[in-house]
C-alpha cells in the first residue's frame, strides 16, 4: 500500500512552520502550527483538516520537502473529513473512469507530449512549436486512460490516486516513451512530486510543459517578434508541486517580449482560481470563491494587465469569462508563445 513519506523529525526541528504560517486560508500562529501539523502527522483530528481548502500551496512552502499537503489530504481521508460533499466526491471519482474501450497504443520510442485528460484541447498544440512531437492521449474518448488522477487530492481521496495511478503509468509506458512532456503541470507534479512522495516508480522522464515551450522558443528565436503585451499570470494549484520550474514563466515572458505586470497575488503569494473552493462543505465556500475571483481580477486590473495567461484548463474554465468581462483577454501560455512567432492563437477569445 502506498503511503506518503512524512518525517516527523523534520517538523520537530523545523524553524519556520511555513507550511501553515504562509497558508492564505487558515489563520494560525507559529506555535499552534507546529502543534497542529504534528497532531496531523500522528493521525489526530485538527482544525486544519477541516479548514484546509486544498490549494496545494503548503507543499511549496515547506522548506524541508516534508509533504505537508499530501499528509493533510491523506489524513482527511483516514479520519473521514472530506472537504467536499459526498455527491461531488462520487461524481469526481466516477469522472475518471474510462468507459469507451481501450486506448490505441502507438510506440513512440523517444520523447512525446502527453495531453493527459485534456485531449479535447489538441487545438492548442498546433504550429511550429509542436512540429515533429508525437502526442499521446490525443483521443478525448480514451483520455481517462491517461488521467494522472492527482485531482483527487482536492477530494481527499489519495486511496483512489494510489489505486489507479500505477495502471496509468503502465499505459503511458506501453508507448515506449523515455521523455514525457506533460501538457498539464498536474501530470508533471504527479510524476515528479507525488510519485516520489508515496514511492510509486516512474519509468520515464517527465518534462515540464513550460520548459519545453522555452526550449522550442529558443530554437525559433529568429522568428520571435515581441508581443508587447502586459500580461498577468494565473498560477494554478498544481504548479505548487513543481516550483523549481516556475521560473520558466518569467523566462518565457522575457523571451517573447511580454511584460509581466506587478501583481500582489503572484509567485508564492498566488491565489487559487476559486474553482476547487466553490463547492466545498465549509460554510461560505461559494462566497469565498467569489471573493477570491474578485481579488484576482482586481489585482490584474490595477496592475494594468491586458492579457491573463493560463496554464491550467480548469483555471481557464473558471476564470476566462470573468476575465473577459473585465476587459482582459484570457490566453493559454502555448497560444501566447504561438503569437510571438507570428501564428494565430487557436484558443484566443
Amino acid at each position: 500500500m502506498y503511503e506518503v513519506k512524512y518525517d516527523e523529525k523534520k517538523c520537530l526541528s523545523c524553524r519556520t512552520q511555513d507550511c501553515l504560517i504562509k497558508c492564505q486560508y487558515i489563520d494560525i500562529d507559529k506555535e499552534s502550527a507546529k502543534k497542529e501539523i504534528l497532531k496531523i502527522g500522528h493521525g489526530e483530528d485538527s482544525f486544519v483538516l477541516h479548514e484546509c481548502v486544498t490549494c496545494y500551496a503548503c507543499e511549496e512552502y515547506c522548506p524541508m520537502n516534508n509533504h505537508p499537503f499530501y499528509l493533510i489530504v491523506e489524513k482527511q481521508e483516514e479520519l473521514d473529513i472530506p472537504p467536499l460533499p459526498r455527491p461531488l466526491i462520487q461524481r469526481g471519482i466516477n469522472l475518471g473512469v474510462p468507459f469507451r474501450g481501450e486506448p490505441v497504443i502507438e510506440k513512440v520510442n523517444g520523447r512525446s507530449l502527453l495531453m493527459g485528460v485534456f485531449s479535447d484541447l489538441m487545438f492548442l498544440i498546433q504550429g511550429k512549436l509542436f512540429e515533429g512531437v508525437p502526442v499521446i492521449s490525443s483521443d478525448p474518448r480514451k483520455m481517462f486512460h491517461y488521467f494522472c488522477q492527482l485531482m483527487y487530492l482536492h477530494y481527499a481521496r489519495t486511496s483512489v490516486i494510489n489505486d489507479r495511478l500505477p495502471k496509468i503509468i503502465e499505459t503511458i509506458a506501453k508507448h515506449e516513451v523515455d521523455e514525457v512532456i506533460c501538457f498539464h503541470d498536474e501530470c508533471y507534479g504527479t510524476y515528479t512530486s507525488y510519485c516520489s512522495a508515496v514511492g510509486i516508480e516512474v519509468p520515464f522522464k517527465p518534462v515540464h510543459f513550460f520548459e519545453f515551450l522555452y526550449d522550442r522558443l529558443k530554437e525559433l528565436k529568429d522568428e520571435i517578434e515581441p508581443v508587447n503585451l502586459k500580461v498577468a499570470y494565473q498560477r494554478p494549484c498544481s504548479s505548487r508541486l513543481s516550483s523549481d520550474k516556475h521560473h520558466f514563466v518569467q523566462d518565457i515572458f522575457e523571451l517573447i517580449g511580454a511584460e509581466a505586470v506587478e501583481r500582489e497575488y503572484v509567485d508564492e503569494n498566488a491565489l487559487c482560481c476559486g474553482g476547487t473552493i466553490v463547492g466545498q462543505r465549509q460554510e461560505g465556500s461559494r462566497k469565498r470563491a467569489a471573493e477570491i475571483e474578485k481579488k484576482n481580477i482586481e489585482d490584474m486590473k490595477s496592475a494594468g494587465a491586458e492579457v491573463c495567461v493560463f496554464n491550467c484548463p480548469a483555471c481557464y474554465n473558471t476564470m476566462a469569462q470573468i476575465v473577459t468581462r473585465n476587459g482582459i483577454a484570457p490566453i493559454y501560455m502555448s497560444d501566447l508563445c504561438r503569437l510571438a512567432i507570428g501564428e494565430n492563437p487557436a484558443g484566443w477569445r
Binding site: P82, P85, R86, P87, R91, G279, Q282, S285, R286
Partner: protein
C-alpha cells in the same frame, strides 16, 4: 393523373405538393420506434385559406389529413398511419406581431422555436418565450398540440398555459378564432370569454392550428444555469419544493443517467437563474445556495457545482445524444413531484432489464405542481433487436406511469389506448361527441385518439 393530386397542385402549386416516393418516404416516419407509414400526398401550404381548401377536399374524398410541424414528438404522432395527405406546415413561418408592452407575439404555425428565439434575441432582447428542450426546428404550434413545456416552466407552467389566442382550421374547413382576437380585439388574452379548449393536447385530431398568440416574458440580461448534485434520490422532491418556494428559479430539471459514468447513481439538478445585474444574481444565489440549499452542502449531502452564464438553448437536447448517432425515444409523463425517487428507481430497473443505459429526467412544472418525468431508451436504428427492446421498455413504462398515478404526456398509440381505457366514462363519451361534431368524417390524423370516434 390522380385527381386528388391535381386538386392539391391547384391549391398550393406544383412546387409544394408531391407524390414522389422519395419525398413521401421522408414523411413516413419520425425519429422514434414507430413503424413507418407512407402518406399518399405531401403538401406544404402557405395560408390558412389553402389549408381550408385542402381540408374541404379531404372531406369530400374522405382521406386523412396529418399536420406536421417539426416532426420531433418522437412518439409517432405525425406518422400517417392511414396514409392520406401529409400537411407540412413549415412554410407558414411568419412572425406576425410582437407587442412588446403587452408581452405577446402572434406567430404562424410553422414558426419554429429557434426562429422565435433568435428573432427575440435580435429585435426584443428583453423578451423571451418558454423554449422547450426539443431541437430548435420544433414548431410553436406543434408544441401546443402536445402540451409541451419549456425553460420557463417553473414560474409559468405548461407552454399551452401561455396562449392568448388561437386561429384554427376545423376539420370541416371553417376558420375559427379563439380569445380576444375572435371579437376583433388584439391577441392579448384568452379570458374571460367562454373557454373552448378543444385543440390543445389533441395532437392535431380536432383541427389545424394556423396562428398562435403566445405570451412573452421578461428576459433578464444574465441567464444561466447552476448545477446541484445529490446522491440520494429521496431528497429531490423536498429540494424542488424548497427551490420553488424561493420563487426565483426559471427552470428546474433533475436528471440521472448511466452514461457518462460520473452521473450514474447521482441526481443532478439544473437550476436556471436570471438577473439584470450582478447584485440581483448574487442575491438570488445567496438565497438559493447559501440559505436554501446550504444545509445539504454543509452536511455533505448535496454539492453545488457552480453557475454557468449564458443559457444554452435548447437545454435538454444537449444531453439527449450522449450515445452519438443512435436512436432514442422517451416516455414522457406528468407526475406528482413526490414520485421522483420511485420514477428514477423503476426507470433504472426497466432500462437495466433491457440492457439500455438508463436516462431519466424530471422537469418541474409550476411551483412544484407537477413534473414532466421522462424515461429515455436508446436504440441503434440499424439493429432491430435494440429497437424491439426499446419498444418493450417504452410500453412497460407507459404501464408504469399509470400504475404510479401519473398521466402519460404525448402518448403514442399504446399509451393512448391505456389512457382511454381508464378515462372517466362520461369524459370519454364527451370526447367522442366532440370529435364526431368537429370531424364527422374522421379525417384528422386518424389512428391517434381513434377509439374516441
Amino acid at each position: 393523373m390522380n385527381s386528388v393530386y391535381e386538386a392539391l397542385v391547384e391549391i398550393v402549386g406544383k412546387d409544394h405538393s408531391s407524390v414522389q416516393p422519395e419525398e413521401l418516404f421522408i414523411y413516413s416516419w419520425d425519429l422514434g420506434t414507430t413503424e413507418p407509414h407512407r402518406p399518399d400526398y405531401a403538401v406544404s401550404p402557405r395560408t390558412p385559406e389553402q389549408i381550408q381548401k385542402i381540408v374541404q377536399l379531404a372531406n369530400k374524398e374522405k382521406i386523412p389529413v396529418v399536420p406536421l410541424g417539426g416532426g420531433l414528438s418522437l412518439a409517432g404522432l405525425a406518422v400517417p398511419f392511414k396514409g392520406g395527405i401529409l400537411l407540412d406546415l413549415k412554410r407558414m413561418d411568419s412572425i406576425i406581431e410582437v407587442n412588446e408592452k403587452a408581452r405577446y407575439t402572434v406567430v404562424e404555425c410553422g414558426v419554429s422555436q429557434g426562429q422565435l428565439t433568435s428573432y427575440l434575441e435580435r429585435h426584443c432582447p428583453h423578451l423571451t418565450h418558454s423554449e422547450p428542450g426539443a431541437p430548435p426546428t420544433a414548431t410553436i404550434a406543434g408544441n401546443m398540440a402536445i402540451h409541451g413545456q419549456g425553460d420557463l416552466a417553473q414560474p409559468y407552467g405548461f407552454n399551452s398555459d401561455m396562449i392568448n389566442g388561437l386561429e384554427v382550421v376545423l376539420p370541416t374547413g371553417e376558420i375559427c378564432q379563439f380569445g380576444s382576437c375572435s371579437i376583433g380585439s388584439g391577441w392579448f388574452t384568452l379570458h374571460p370569454l367562454p373557454d373552448v379548449g378543444l385543440f390543445l393536447g389533441w395532437t392535431g385530431t380536432t383541427g389545424i392550428i394556423t396562428k398562435v398568440s403566445l405570451r412573452l416574458f421578461p428576459c433578464k440580461k444574465i441567464r444561466g444555469a447552476a448545477l446541484f448534485a445529490v446522491d440520494n434520490e429521496e431528497l429531490i422532491p423536498e429540494i424542488i419544493y424548497k427551490l420553488t418556494h424561493t420563487q426565483m428559479v426559471e427552470d428546474i430539471v433533475a436528471f440521472s443517467q448511466a452514461i457518462p459514468p460520473f452521473s450514474s447513481g447521482l441526481q443532478h439538478i439544473t437550476i436556471n437563474l436570471s438577473a439584470d445585474s450582478e447584485k440581483e444574481l448574487e442575491f438570488k444565489q445567496e438565497i438559493i445556495f447559501d440559505d436554501t440549499l446550504g444545509e445539504y452542502i454543509r452536511k455533505g449531502d448535496g454539492g453545488y457545482l457552480g453557475f454557468n452564464r449564458g443559457l444554452q438553448r435548447p437545454q435538454i437536447s444537449k444531453t439527449s445524444d450522449w450515445r452519438k448517432g443512435g436512436g432514442f425515444e422517451y416516455v414522457g409523463s406528468i407526475m406528482p413531484i413526490d414520485t421522483y425517487p420511485e420514477c428514477y428507481r423503476r426507470g433504472r430497473q426497466i432500462s437495466e432489464k433491457h440492457d439500455i443505459p438508463y436516462t431519466v429526467l424530471g422537469r418541474c412544472i409550476g411551483a412544484a405542481h407537477a413534473m414532466m418525468f421522462s424515461w429515455t431508451y436508446a436504440f441503434n436504428r440499424a439493429d432491430p433487436e435494440t429497437i424491439k427492446h426499446a419498444k418493450a421498455a417504452l410500453h412497460e413504462t407507459d404501464d408504469l406511469v399509470l400504475k404510479l398515478g401519473g398521466t402519460i404526456w404525448k402518448p403514442g398509440l399504446y399509451g393512448q389506448k391505456l389512457v382511454m381505457e381508464r378515462l372517466n366514462s362520461s369524459t370519454f363519451d364527451l370526447m367522442r361527441k366532440v370529435k364526431q361534431l368537429l370531424d364527422p368524417n374522421g379525417i384528422m390524423n386518424p389512428g391517434n385518439w381513434e377509439p374516441a370516434l
